[in-house]
Each structure stands twice: as C-alpha cells, then as structure tokens.
C-alpha cells in the first residue's frame, strides 16, 4: 500500500529545503516540498519555549497557551464574538478566538503531537482549517468536505503530528466570506526541531487582512467584494499598530501571512534589504533567495523575511499600495484637487457655519484637522487619520507600522521616537548652502 508520505516522495520534485531533509535519507529520489529537519514519523518530546525554540512576538496579539498531556500538546480555541478595537476611535463587533481578533498565534515545534479543541460559541456553525499544515484529510477542517460543521455550543477535537516547520495559518473554512470577513483567522508558527540555520533574535508574526467598516457603523460588512476600507496588520490599522522593536545587531525575522479577502500586499520595509527565506510551502534554498526591499504577500500565502538589524532608526514598514495605507477612505466624492473654492466658502458661511472645504490640496491635512478637533466626525470612525510624529503629522493609516531599531534597548516596549544625529537629519536648506551649490528656488 502506498502511504501518503510515499505519495509526496513520489510526486515531489527536487524542492526547496532538500538539503535539510534528513528524513529522505532512505529515498533520495522524492522529497516533500515542505520543510523538515527531522523524520516526521519519529517520536519527539513536546517542544518547549526557550529550550527548543525562541518564542515569536505577535505585535498587538498574543500566543495561544497549551498544556502537555501524556506527551501531547493540548490547545483550546474558542470561536466567539469579540468587540475589537482597530485603532483608538474605531472598534467593531467581530468574531475571533479566545477573546482576540485575530486569534492567538499557535506555536508548535516540528514533530510535536498536537491536539486542538475547538469550541464554537458563535450563533453560526464553523470549522477550523489548518492552512498549509500537512494533516490527515479528516483533520483538514473544510466544512462539509473534511467534516461536518461545528455547531453552536459544540466542541470538536483536531489531532495531528507536526510534520514540517514554517509559517502557517488557521482560519474558518465554513462560509468564509462571512467568517473570515468577521475576523476568524490566526497564525501558526512551527519551529524546526533541529534548526540548521541561525535562530533569529527577534521573530515577529504579522497577519495581513482587510475589512469593510463604514464610518459610523459597528460591524464589518461582509457583503463587500472589493470596497475594503480598513487594512490591518494583526487586525490593527495605523495608528493602532504596535511598533516592532529590535536591538541593533539582532537577527530579525518577520513572518507575514495574508488572509485578505481580495488583496495581495507588497510590504515594503524602509532602511533595509532582506532575504525572503520561507513561504508557507516551505523553506527557500539559500541559492534560490534574492534580496528584496518589498515582499509581495499574496492572498492565502505566508512569506518570511530575514535581515540583520544593523541600521538604527525608526523605519516605516507598510503595504506599498497607497489605498492600503488609508483608513476608511471614501471614494464617491468629487475630485477636489487644485480647485479654488473661495467663492463657495463665502456662500457656505451663512448656510453651514461648520463647513470646511477639504481636498483642494489633497487629503494630507485631514488627519490633522480631525486631531485638532476642527471637524465633527461620524461616531466610531477614523477616516484617513494618521498620527502625530516626532517632526510633523504622519499622513499614514492602514497597513503601516514602524520598525524601531536602537543601539541600546532596556526592553522591547516602545522606545519612543528615534533621535537622528543632527548631521543625519533632513532639514531646510540654509541660504549659504543654496548659494554654495548654485540652487535657485
């Protein structure tokens, strides 16, 4: 009889990570694509944090706790309604796991035997699919196909051995448009049992997703096809995103997963070049990697980047699609750029005293106006707002966060704004400089 593992060996090509495949020693002709460091059919003691792996950091998120029962790692996910805050001033009634949107990161080690209980406290039936995880078919969590749905009040048990390492995901696989649109998803990190490459000092996990929340409403609109107006990292949009903090000289890894409904995200990191080292399919052989400053994370995929934090500063890290760094932007408005509205303003004073012409110079000032209380905003909305930065207003929202690299860190909490050495700070040109260099303004 041909086993599943045999099937992989027969069909798999010479793929990424083949050099690491200790398990393939007895059959060098067919290797699985996914990454392994040990024989997946071996028996291993459950991997322990800080002994077998360096725990990951999920900015704005958390890691799912476990207990070890008879050599099995036991987790408990509870799908339930969660009141979730996207950023100060914007929250919504979402669905998540264990009180979090998105769900906590599940951390395991290659070779672990895991048992995950899933309790459904939603009104709707649900399932959990282990995205990218090599599991027996009956554990795959596709509603109707792999199992019947978990009904309200029921608890299902999923159990499997972790045959791979890498960055993976989990999400509802029942009525996905609704349930993923409401937030039912999370990240899975499987650490290698016997890592062959250096372990990062800082290991971050970021789930990318998108939402449709009209200003003034309190629930994601899951009927939307493409008008998503809140773009998030770990279900937070800037200025709600926590910074990624690293000490100068540390090896930093950032694992991105994208479960947005309709959008891929080219995530750009300022101040660095990095290697894309893994996908949810497995590890990319060193020889196949190439340097990047932007990593495209397609829908339904994960990408892992690694770099050395050798350039101190506050570094923007964001999706490079400009709409994806706007919060709750409206699109059904006339194009105001460059128009002279002085004649309109005159008429409006008597008619609507609180009126203010906007958009003739673009949208950059809007957040500032809101911040300064010049304009009444709809309840529960953060339209296009950014945040006050060290020098000026940061006109960014959405899928935007900051990597903070410092020479000396006391801890990993937000170290505040970076103070650039004076000679390295952009500033207004002096007259002398202009004259010296023959610049006419």
């Amino acid at each position: 009889m041909v086993t599943r593992r045999d099937m992989f060996r027969l069909t798999g090509g010479a793929m990424a990570g083949s050099a690491l495949l200790a398990a393939s020693a007895n059959n060098a002709t067919a290797d699985p694509a996914y990454a392994q460091t040990v024989d997946p059919d071996g028996v291993y003691t459950p991997g322990e944090p800080n002994r077998d792996y360096t725990p990951v950091t999920t900015p704005n998120g958390t890691t799912l706790p476990f207990r070890i029962i008879d050599g099995v790692k036991v987790f408990h996910l509870v799908a339930e309604p969660v009141q979730h805050q996207f950023a100060p001033g914007l929250q919504a009634r979402c669905w998540g796991y264990n009180g979090h949107v998105h769900g906590p990161t599940i951390e395991v080690v290659e070779g672990d035997r895991v048992r995950i209980y899933v309790t459904n406290r939603l009104e709707a039936p649900t399932t959990v699919h282990w995205h990218g995880v090599i599991v027996p078919s009956g554990m795959d969590g596709v509603g109707g196909l792999s199992q019947r749905a978990i009904h309200k009040g029921e608890t299902f048990k999923y159990e499997f051995s972790v045959r791979q390492y890498g960055t993976l995901m989990y999400h509802s696989h029942h009525d996905e448009m609704t349930q993923m649109g409401m937030g039912l998803m999370g990240m899975i990190v499987a650490h290698p049992r016997a890592p062959k490459t250096s372990i990062p000092d800082r290991d971050f996990v970021i789930m990318l997703s998108e939402w449709a929340i009209e200003p003034g409403t309190f629930r994601p609109d899951t009927n939307v096809m493409s008008d998503f107006n809140i773009l998030t990292m770990n279900a937070r949009c800037y200025p709600g995103t926590a910074p990624l903090v690293a000490q100068k000289g540390q090896r930093v890894r950032i694992r991105f997963g994208n479960l947005s409904a309709m959008d891929h995200h080219p995530i750009h990191l300022h101040g660095y070049a990095f290697q894309i080292t893994e996908t949810d399919g497995g590890s990319i052989p060193k020889a196949a990697q190439w340097p990047e400053t932007t990593v495209l994370v397609p829908v339904g995929s994960t990408r892992t980047i690694d770099f050395l934090a050798d350039n101190p500063g506050d570094w923007a890290m964001h999706c490079h699609m400009t709409h994806h760094i706007m919060n709750q932007m409206g699109h059904n408005i006339p194009n105001m750029v460059g128009a002279n509205f002085s004649a309109v303003d005159e008429k409006m004073t008597g008619l609507l005293p609180a009126y203010m012409t906007m958009g003739t110079d673009g949208m950059g000032d809007m957040g500032k106006h809101v911040e300064m209380g010049h304009m009444a905003m709809p309840i529960n909305s953060i339209p296009m707002v950014g945040a006050n930065g060290p020098h000026d207003y940061i006109t960014m929202g959405g899928m935007f966060t900051i990597l903070k690299v410092r020479e000396n860190l006391q801890g990993y909490e937000d170290p505040g704004w970076y103070q650039a050495p004076a000679e390295t700070q952009a500033k207004p040109a002096s007259t002398d400089e202009l004259i010296r260099d023959g610049i006419e303004t």
Binding site: E214, P215, G216, Q328, M329, G330, H331, N332, I333, P334, N335, M336, V337, G338, A339, N340, F341, A343, V344, K347, M348, G350, L351, L352, A354, Y355, M356, T357, M358, G359, M363, M366, V370, M375, A376, M377, P378, S381, P383, M384
Partner: protein
C-alpha cells in the same frame, strides 16, 4: 297682537304714535349690543360710535399702530377701524334702525309714497286705496314687530360680519407670515444651489469635472431661482390680501412679526357641533327673519315656526297647521285674502323653514369638518416639531460628519441642506394650515361659518432637493 279688533286698534295706534316721536334714529343700542357680542366671542372691540362716522383720530391711530411691527392683534384693530366692508355693515344697522322708526309712523299719503318693507313684496304692499290711512294705523304694531325682527336679524348679521372679518384678518395675517418665512427659506435654498453651482464652477475650472456635471448644477440653480420668484409673488399676494382687509393702500409701509407662533397644545372639543349650533349668528338671523315672516303672516305659534335640527342633522318638522289670524280676515273683508295668497304665504314659510333646516345641517357638517381639520393639522405640526425637523437636523449634522470624513462630497452635503430647507417649508405650511384651521374653529364657535374653508390650500411652492452630481 294677533287678535286685533277695531276697538283695541285705536288704543294701540295712539300708543305707537306716542312712542314713535321719541324713537332715535341712531342705532346706539344695536351697535353696543353687536359690540358686546363681538367682544364676548372674539375678545376684540368695535371702536365705532353709533353715529356711524369713523372715529376722529382714526388715521392717527392707524399710523401709530403701523409704526410698530404689526401683530395679529394690531392688524385686527386696524381692520376694525378701517375696513370698508365694515362701514357698510354698520350702515345696515342704521337702515334697520330707521326701518323700525319708520314702522312706528303713520303713513302720510301726502309725503310718503310707499312703506318700505325689507322683505320686499309682501302682502302689505297692497293697493289699499282710500283705506290706506286707516290701515296704516291698523298695521303699526305689526309693522313694528316685523321691523324689530328684521333689526334683530341685522344685528346678528353685522356681528357675524365682524367676526368673519376678524377671522379673515387672522387668516390673512398668518398667510403673510407663512409666505414671508417661505420666502426666507427660498433665499437659503438659492444660496445652497448657488454654492453648488459655484462648487461645480470651481471644479470645472480646475479640470476635475466635465461640462455635463457643471451644466447640471448650474441648471438646478436657475430652477431654484425661478421657484424663489414664485415664493416672492405669494408674499406679494398675501400682503395685498391683508392690505385690502385692513383698508390700506399698497403704498402704506408696514412690517409684521416674522415668525408664525408654534402651537403648544390642541384642545379636542367633542361638543363642537352643539356649540356651533348654539352660537350660530346665521341661525339667529334666520330665526329673526322667520319670525318677521311669521308676523307678516300673522302666525301665533313661534315654536311651530322654528324647526329644530338635532346635532345629528335630522330635522324635526312641525306638521301642525299654523294659526293665521281668522279675525283679521273677518275684520277686513275688504281685502283680497284669497286661497292663492294663503298658499303663497305657506310656501314662503316652508321655503324659509327648509332653508333654516339646511343651514343647521350645514353648520353641523362644517363644524365637524373644521374640528377634524384642526386635529389633523395639529398632528401634522406635531409631526414636524417632534419628528421631522429634529430628524432633518440630525440628518444634516450626520451628512456634514460624513462630508468631514470625506465619504461624500459637497454636492451631497448641499442636497441634504436643501432637503432640510424643504422640510422647513413643509413645516411652515403645516403651521399656516394649523392656524387657519384654528381660526375656522374659533370663528365657528363665535357663531360664524368660515367664508374660506380652512383646509383650502393655495399653491404651495417648495424647494426641490434635486439630484446629486459629482462623485466619480
């Protein structure tokens, strides 16, 4: 006085002759009665004196009133001083008074060619030939009775006229207030469309919208200006209507308090039909005329003469034979007191009675409708006060917030403003209709059927919210 015989006739005649000598031709008592009645029922005071000449300082007083902002009360005051129809009505009292005096005089064939009977062609206008003087004396008590009833009818009619005038002035006053407020709201609407148009112009000049969008906004602005002119003409009409009632000419300068008051309560009056019947001055006048007619026909039984309509509208006709004085016919065989004439008299009385019944039914119906209208208008006003206007206010507020959030553009914002203005206009119309319905009920309770139905609405030009251009 039905049993006349020749013996008593002379006694009566002498008495009448004595009385008529001191009868005044000034309708002092009548005017004072009318004045009291009007005051009792409307709170307004008639300022004319019984000589029926305008008060001396009338122009001074009118000027003094007009120098201040006109209120409903002061407008009524001017109308009571100055309305030309009112002078004519007062003159009626003088006529009635004169008739009454005349009725007491013995006809002088040398100087008097005819006896005037207000009802027109009655049997008293007989060719009495040589018996004229004797009959004059004979008929003095009868003539006096008739003239007295006629004068009573006139008093009721004049009082009714004054009450009607007061109601008309009040209606005209609120109509003008409404028209002015509507006009002001049109001004706002035009500012709003001007802002839309200017926005379109700015965007067009910046190259951000096409000519189609620009022209559409401009067109809408032009349309709104046209509608404003409609509003202007309504104000002019309403002002002239009030001018006419106040007896002022167009050139007279005056302003009136702008805002229609908002009513704070509505008193349901389940007994309005009974009140209307009891108060009706038209019924009073009709009764007096029936009595005059009865007297003319020598009918003794007045209870049988006046039919009664229950509030439900069913008339009780008294089928009893009227008692026409047979002694009269016997005593004066000389007269042609034939069957045809009797039949005519009966038909005339029947006609008057049927009209009287019809009037009662009409009063009941109009009172019922007026009250129902008032209730409806009250609910409408309350709807605008408690629901529509606060909601529109909030909608505009929310729209501005959505505009601030850059979810919608300026055209949508201004469209919301126009919708709010339109709601404001609808409220003004509701207020006007409420007050006119209130005036109608007041008028009915004061004893007069409204000349203009309170629910009759004239053209009510309003702001159109229009369609929103822009977007992308």
């Amino acid at each position: 006085m039905a049993d006349l015989n020749l013996k008593s006739l002379f006694v009566v005649t002498v008495g009448i002759l004595a009385l008529s000598g001191c009868s005044s031709l000034q309708p002092t008592a009548e005017l004072s009665e009318v004045s009291m009645l009007v005051h009792e029922r409307t709170g307004e005071t008639i300022v004319w004196d019984p000589t029926l000449s305008p008060p001396k300082d009338i122009n001074t007083e009118i000027q003094s009133i007009l120098s201040k902002t006109l209120t409903m009360k002061s407008a009524v005051r001017i109308a009571l001083l100055n309305n030309s129809g009112l002078r004519a009505a007062y003159a009626e009292l003088g006529i009635g008074r004169a008739d009454l005096v005349q009725a007491g005089l013995v006809h002088n064939p040398l100087f008097e060619a005819a006896v005037k009977f207000p009802q027109g062609d009655h049997q008293l206008n007989l060719d009495l030939g040589i018996t004229l003087e004797l009959l004059d004396i004979l008929f003095v008590p009868l003539k006096r009775e008739i003239a007295d009833s006629e004068l009573n009818a006139k008093k009721a009619e004049v009082a009714g006229f004054v009450i009607g005038l007061i109601a008309d002035v009040r209606d005209a006053f609120v109509s003008l207030q409404a028209a002015q407020q509507i006009e002001n709201l049109f001004e706002q609407a035009v500012t709003a469309t001007a802002a839309s148009s200017a926005s379109a112009m700015a965007l067009y000049e910046a190259g951000n919208i096409n000519q189609l969008t620009f022209d559409t906004e401009r067109y809408f602005h032009e349309e709104t200006q046209l509608a404003r002119r409609e509003g202007n003409i309504r104000t002019l009409e309403a002002r002239e209507q009030l001018n006419t009632l106040l007896g002022l000419n167009q050139a007279t300068q005056w302003t009136l308090s702008l805002r229609l008051p908002s009513p704070s309560r509505f008193e349901a009056n389940d007994d309005i039909e009974r009140l209307a019947l009891d108060a009706s001055l038209e019924l009073t006048a009709a009764r007096a005329k029936l009595l005059a007619l009865g007297a003319t026909h020598r009918i003794k039984n007045t209870t049988a003469l006046i039919p009664v309509v229950e509030a439900g509208g069913v008339a009780e006709r008294n089928e009893r034979e009227w008692e026409a004085g047979p002694s009269f016919a016997v005593a004066l065989p000389i007269l042609d007191w034939g069957t045809a004439r009797r039949a005519k008299s009966r038909a005339e009385i029947v006609r008057a009675q049927e009209n009287y019944i019809g009037l009662q039914i009409k009063i009941v119906a109009v009172a019922k409708i007026a009250h129902a209208r008032l209730e409806k208008e009250w609910h409408k006003v309350s709807f605008y006060q408690k629901t529509a206007l606060p909601l529109q206010f909030r909608i505009l507020d929310q729209t501005l917030q959505q505009y601030n959030a850059m979810q919608i553009g300026i055209f949508e914002l201004l469209s919301a403003k126009r919708k709010q203005i339109a709601a404001g206009q609808a409220y003004i119309y509701a207020l006007r209709d409420f007050w006119m319905a209130q005036h109608a009920v007041d008028e009915i309770r004061a004893g007069r059927l409204p000349s203009v139905q309170p629910f009759e609405t004239f053209g009510s030009p309003m702001v159109s919210a229009g369609t929103v251009q822009g977007g992308h």
